[in-house]
């Protein structure tokens, strides 16, 4: 099944309206009963909408002629994002939400990596994937050792909890985080939509960790959030640099709207919660309306067909299911990879004294929070205390 963008006009922008009850009065999803992939979709779509707003604010600073149309679309998207983010329940603690964020980063990136036709871009996704995979392990150790809780209550056995590329070695000099970009003239549409999806997701993860990190009283929790937020900043740098800087501002806006349509469409097709499915359907129609609105501006200002930039039909959506096998394969083959300049290289290619090695040696010189929190940590069902308690009971 696909969606023909040339035939869709969606909900006209003036009809995209909300009340406060709709925006923030709906009951949240159930942390206990809803499928983990429902939470994954909520978190990802919050990230997509958060980047929709971010992009439009930057555009607002760069182009005075677009300020009113940008503000029109942004107002609707502000309320769409709120409605999505407010679906997260209050009984989900900040660390539990963090576990959800990392599950998004792992499962969504793994799906994207497998569908990405550009081999260089696919390599970058696999590279980032193994780093987020490690973050999940570190945060799971924190959740267990700080709150006595089991990360698998959130993950629902879809995602492995084990070390990836150790966070300690993910710290790189900025020069080793910038990547080559796709070529706007030759890149397939899915390559461009993937890049937007990933930098939106990583950006919100960075912002979330920066926001919740100081809410913790525990010193290691504060330090771990600081350490992993720094890697998320590196990931935003990596994924953002995939985007061709010669795309015009309007071209980027058009593509961002298309990425929003693409992602809501993927949610509609996979959602198991009927109430949420109705929200995704409504927002798909809203995004189609926004895309039509921007298409008109693009064609009027740039005097070229919007479909010279956009795909006529939407490519394969993100696969919202466990990507365990793929992740394990990548882990086995690529865990020791490093980045040097724009390239992903085997471990031996990172030379002693190189900018990243020197950077890492200094920043880790007083200890690495991610190594401290997970020292000897191996996930066990129910958390490590269940086994410890059973052993203690046997001894006494």
């Amino acid at each position: 099944m696909t969606l023909d963008l040339t035939a869709q006009r969606g909900t006209p922008l003036p009809q995209q309206r909300f009340t406060w009850r709709e925006i923030a009065g709906a009951l949240p999803i159930s942390k206990l009963d809803d499928d983990a992939f429902t939470r994954v979709r909520v978190i990802l779509m919050n990230g997509i909408m958060s980047d929709a707003l971010r992009f439009k604010h930057i555009a607002n600073r760069l182009d005075g002629s677009l300020r009113v149309p940008l503000a029109e679309v942004r107002r609707v998207e502000q309320h769409m994002q709120t409605m999505i983010n407010w679906l997260l329940p209050a009984d989900q603690s900040p660390i539990e939400t963090t576990i959800g964020y990392e599950q998004v980063a792992i499962e969504v990136t793994a799906s994207v990596a497998q569908h990405e036709p550009d081999p260089y871009m696919a390599q970058l996704y696999r590279f980032g994937l193994l780093e987020d995979f490690d973050h999940l392990y570190r945060y799971s150790a924190l959740l267990d050792r700080l709150e006595g809780k089991d990360a698998n209550n959130i993950l629902q056995s879809y995602t492995d909890i084990r070390p990836g590329r150790p966070t300690e070695v993910e710290h790189r000099a900025p020069v080793d985080d910038v990547r080559r970009h796709y070529d706007r003239k030759t890149a397939q549409p899915i390559t461009r939509l993937h890049a937007i999806t990933l930098f939106a997701g990583e950006y919100q993860t960075h912002d979330y960790y920066m926001h919740v990190g100081p809410l913790f009283s525990d010193p290691i929790a504060r330090m771990l959030y600081a350490e992993i937020a720094s890697i998320e900043e590196q990931h935003v740098t990596q994924y953002e640099s995939m985007s061709d800087p010669t795309e015009t501002l309007l071209e980027k806006w058009l593509l961002h709207e298309a990425a929003e349509v693409y992602n809501f469409w993927g949610c509609v097709q996979s959602e198991s919660n009927k109430r949420l499915k109705a929200i995704w359907e409504r927002f798909l129609d809203y995004e189609l309306g926004q895309l039509a609105y921007v298409r008109e501006i693009f064609e009027r200002v740039e005097k070229r067909d919007a479909f010279s930039v956009l795909p006529r039909t939407l490519p394969t959506p993100i696969d919202y299911s466990s990507q365990r096998k793929f992740v394990r394969d990548v882990l086995e083959k690529e865990v020791n990879f490093r980045a040097v300049g724009t390239e992903i290289v085997p471990l031996a290619a990172e030379k002693p004294g190189s900018p990243s090695v020197r950077y890492r040696e200094h920043i880790n010189s007083e200890g690495s929070p991610s190594q401290i929190v997970a020292a000897n940590y191996q996930w066990r069902p129910g958390g490590e205390l269940i086994e410890q308690a059973a052993v203690q009971a046997t001894v006494h």
């Binding site: 206990l32 009963d33 084990r162 069902p381």
Partner: protein, 254 residues
């Protein structure tokens, strides 16, 4: 309305998906930790920071000349007047939050009407307790002013007490928290509150503030009754839902 004790679609445990969970367990066993030392590494950082850290804040200077005089007199006796003021500040904050906490449960109470039975609290029952909490706000405010303190200041103990209470308040305000959950939140608060008043009375007496100690006695007795009543309602809710007969009778309201 779905109740939390009905069987539903809870997916959190490993038995939800035996195949997936076996894979997760196998994956975790395969993955070797990248650092050794266990929880002792976290403990060392916690200790180091605790040794370096100052308190969350300090007590404000005395608010009036009278306060300065009183402080000076008490200090001469080798005692700590600010300790009492710090704890009074905590009690004042706790009672204020307590009024809001009861309000949150009272507002939702009609939503739980269907399960009936004489053992559940009525709005009037909870309102009576809430009014006591409001009276206690004034009792503590007067005590703070008597000692020359500023009842509008947030003392360090009030601040951390607020952090402790934040989870209780979250449960009480959650539309999805049922009557038993909400009563459990109130019970948590009342247990702490009872000890808080007892501690203040002992401390005030020890510092020679007999008048303040006496003014708190009624509050302590009322708090004790709150605890007895909430505890009984919690017990009754659980037993009735489980179909178990209760042995204890409920205490009457005063």
């Amino acid at each position: 309305m779905k109740t939390p004790n009905e069987t539903g679609m809870n997916r959190t445990g490993i038995k939800t998906s035996p195949i997936d969970s076996r894979a997760t367990e196998a994956g975790a066993e395969e993955g070797e930790p990248t650092s050794i030392g266990g929880e002792s590494l976290m403990a060392a950082v916690r200790l180091e920071l605790a040794q370096q850290a100052d308190a969350v804040g300090s007590m404000p200077p005395p608010a009036s000349l009278k306060g300065v005089a009183k402080s000076a007199m008490t200090v001469l006796k080798g005692e700590s007047p600010t300790l009492l003021l710090n704890l009074l500040g905590e009690r004042l904050a706790f009672e204020r939050t307590g009024v809001r906490l009861y309000e949150a449960v009272i507002d939702k109470l009609p939503a739980f009407a269907a399960d009936g039975g004489s053992a559940r609290p009525t709005v009037a029952d909870l309102r009576a307790i809430q009014e006591d909490e409001l009276r206690h706000v004034d009792v503590v405010r007067r005590a703070i002013e008597t000692l020359g303190g500023d009842p509008t200041a947030m003392t360090p103990a009030a601040d951390l007490g607020g952090v402790s209470m934040s989870g209780v308040l979250q449960v009480a305000c959650d539309p999805r928290a049922q009557l038993a959950d909400s009563l459990h939140a109130l019970l948590t608060a009342e247990l702490v509150d009872n000890d808080g008043w007892e501690l203040l009375i002992q401390l005030a007496r020890g510092l020679g503030q007999e008048e303040i100690a006496q003014s708190f006695a009624q509050a302590r007795d009322q708090e004790h009754l709150h605890l007895v009543r909430i505890r009984a309602w919690v017990m009754s809710q659980v037993m009735r839902e489980a179909g178990v007969e209760e042995s204890a009778t409920l205490p009457a309201a005063t």
